[in-house]
Symmetry: C2
Subunit: 358 residues, 2 copies
């Protein structure tokens, strides 16, 4: 097991990564505060892991709230069902919400915990690669709105993150690949060495080699924790974590969150951002080609849906990174270094959008 720490000054929490954690009653006892717990999970994950988790929580009053599966359910209405469960179980301010599942469960559970009684503790127990390397860490929670992704939410840091790598054994291939997209992202934005490592070790990750997965997850969490520690509320540097996301969110919104997994949309979004970076002369075409090759080898989609450049731009305009009407983009000036800028040639953006979305 590896244990990292996210240190934000006002809050500090551990991230445990390794096999067998759901069965480790001692660890869970130390990591999960409170006598009263509500486990939030979904219809896919609960049958696989809920009992294992419950058995490791002796002496707690454990309620549960099982949600439907899928990004299309990441809505205010679904958050409402979690509130209903918390109220029905008479959970109080000292209760802890435990989010057992992927990114949707984590985002919904975290948001419900942020709002219930103006904030109760939340422990993230991510069971997908994407959630383990990204969404469970950093305190961003929220739900989608038909007008855009994660438009409603809160910053609410978890009390702990417990990433049991055993849960990845039941992860569908497609979701594994979607999680790899976020790991590739960390390589692109801030760790050229990780990118190189991924080019060499991708077959091990696809084969679910436990040591390779643990290495990649820990590296990703370490990078994310470092960025979040510098800028919890995304005033500046944290925005680099959204590399590929502005385009990816437009793709997800245009397809009603049903056609692409988040990581798949991000994969395409990263390619679009890299294409624009190349058009602007920030990186060379060879760097963009390396990224495309890696994503293709990972079995991720590399073509955007034909929604039209105008529609894509309209959806992008709802991005949370818009400031004073100007759309800030996360671009690369090297494979391993991201820049955030609102100062780019609009015609290059138009050319990129036309190439990908027309």
């Amino acid at each position: 097991m590896q244990t990292l720490h996210v240190d934000l000054g006002h809050s500090r929490y551990p991230i445990d990564i390794g096999p067998g954690l759901l069965g480790d009653a001692g660890l869970l006892d130390a990591r999960i505060p409170g006598r009263d717990l509500l486990i939030v999970s979904n219809v896919t994950v609960a049958p696989l892991y809920l009992e294992r988790l419950r058995r490791s929580l002796p002496g707690r009053r454990v309620g549960e709230c099982i949600l439907p599966d899928g990004e299309s359910h990441k809505t205010l209405a679904t958050a409402g069902t979690i509130f209903d469960a918390l109220v029905a179980q008479r959970q109080n301010r000292d209760a802890t919400l435990v989010a057992l599942g992927g990114g949707v469960v984590g985002d919904l559970g975290g948001f419900a915990a942020a709002c219930y009684q103006r904030g109760i503790a939340c422990v993230q127990v991510p069971t997908t690669l994407l959630a383990q390397v990204d969404s469970s860490v950093g305190g961003k929670t929220g739900v989608n709105h038909p007008g855009g992704k994660n438009l409603i939410g809160a910053f609410h840091q978890p009390a702990a993150v417990i990433a049991d790598t055993d849960t990845l054994t039941t992860l569908p291939d497609r979701e594994l690949r979607a999680g790899l997209a976020e790991i590739v992202k960390y390589g692109c934005i801030c760790d050229a060495g990780l990118f190189d490592w991924l080019e060499i070790n991708l077959p091990r990750l696809l084969a679910r080699d436990p040591a390779a997965l643990t290495h990649a997850i820990a590296a990703s969490c370490r990078l994310k924790a470092s960025v979040v520690a510098r800028d919890e509320r995304e005033s500046n540097v944290r925005a680099i974590l959204n590399f590929g996301h502005t385009f990816g969110h437009a793709i997800e919104a245009a397809t009603a969150y049903t056609s692409y997994l988040h990581g798949e949309a991000v994969a395409i979004g990263m390619l679009i951002a890299a294409d624009l970076s190349a058009r602007l002369g920030l990186i060379d075409r060879e760097a963009a080609a390396r990224l495309r090759a890696l994503l293709e080898r990972a079995g991720l989609p590399v073509a955007a849906p034909a929604i039209g450049a105008d529609r894509a731009r309209t959806l992008m305009q709802m991005d949370k990174k818009v400031r004073a009407g100007a759309l800030r983009l996360v671009l690369l000036d090297a494979l391993g270094n991201a820049v955030v800028t609102a100062d780019y040639d609009e015609s290059a953006l138009t050319a990129t959008l036309t190439e990908y979305f027309a």
Copy 2:
């Protein structure tokens, strides 16, 4: 005009109190950040004051969202309509939400601002006495759940509070009296001098004497700001602001938020809390009688609905002040000093609940 400041370290904001503020374009320009605004109001207040406010905001892009009136609309669904308006108007993270109305508009608007894009600026423009002396200050926002009041919410400090006392001229008598209940509360919990002043000056307040109102509002805001500065997240001392509220919330929930104004329920709740304080020997019966006399002179209800002691206790158990299963109560040990305790004689509580709710 009086200007106070709430200083929380991480955030500092002004409270302006006085006549004519809605027409003071210079003040509003200084106090309301952002180019893009969404004014949230309701069907009662908007026809009276929205245009006055709009005319004082030259050069801004001003959208609006007009809600139905009343506590029964303080729901997650109504918050959803504010999110819809923000999205429909393509408001971004640098937009400011301006809440123009009473406590319900302020709580809803503040909550929507807290959650939209994980937090945009909110300026509170309270138009009721209750909102001016209480709910607009301190950053508590939220909505009700059928299971209890304000069970879903966020701490989100406003960027500014602008209390135009002219708006009180159109306030129905019943709402004026409900606002007085919260002013009486400040006297009870932390300012014996204010309580004495109220006993003398109540007729001036009921007659809407502008100077008396401004004095009472400023005194209340100063006391609240001082308490909030010491304990923003209600870890300890802030709980005294809930004097009368645990009982009052039970009354409101039992009557579906339709029979009593919040201040009316708090008035009854304060009497119940004072009765219990007297039973426990913390204050003498004469102090409780002084409180009753003042509330009666203010035209506030002093009898609780006959919902039964058991139902009252069940509803109280959903109070956010419950910790580890124990209900903490805000009691008085003097007229002018509140104490928060979970250490009280249960039989005294039962006797009080039976007397008031049976």
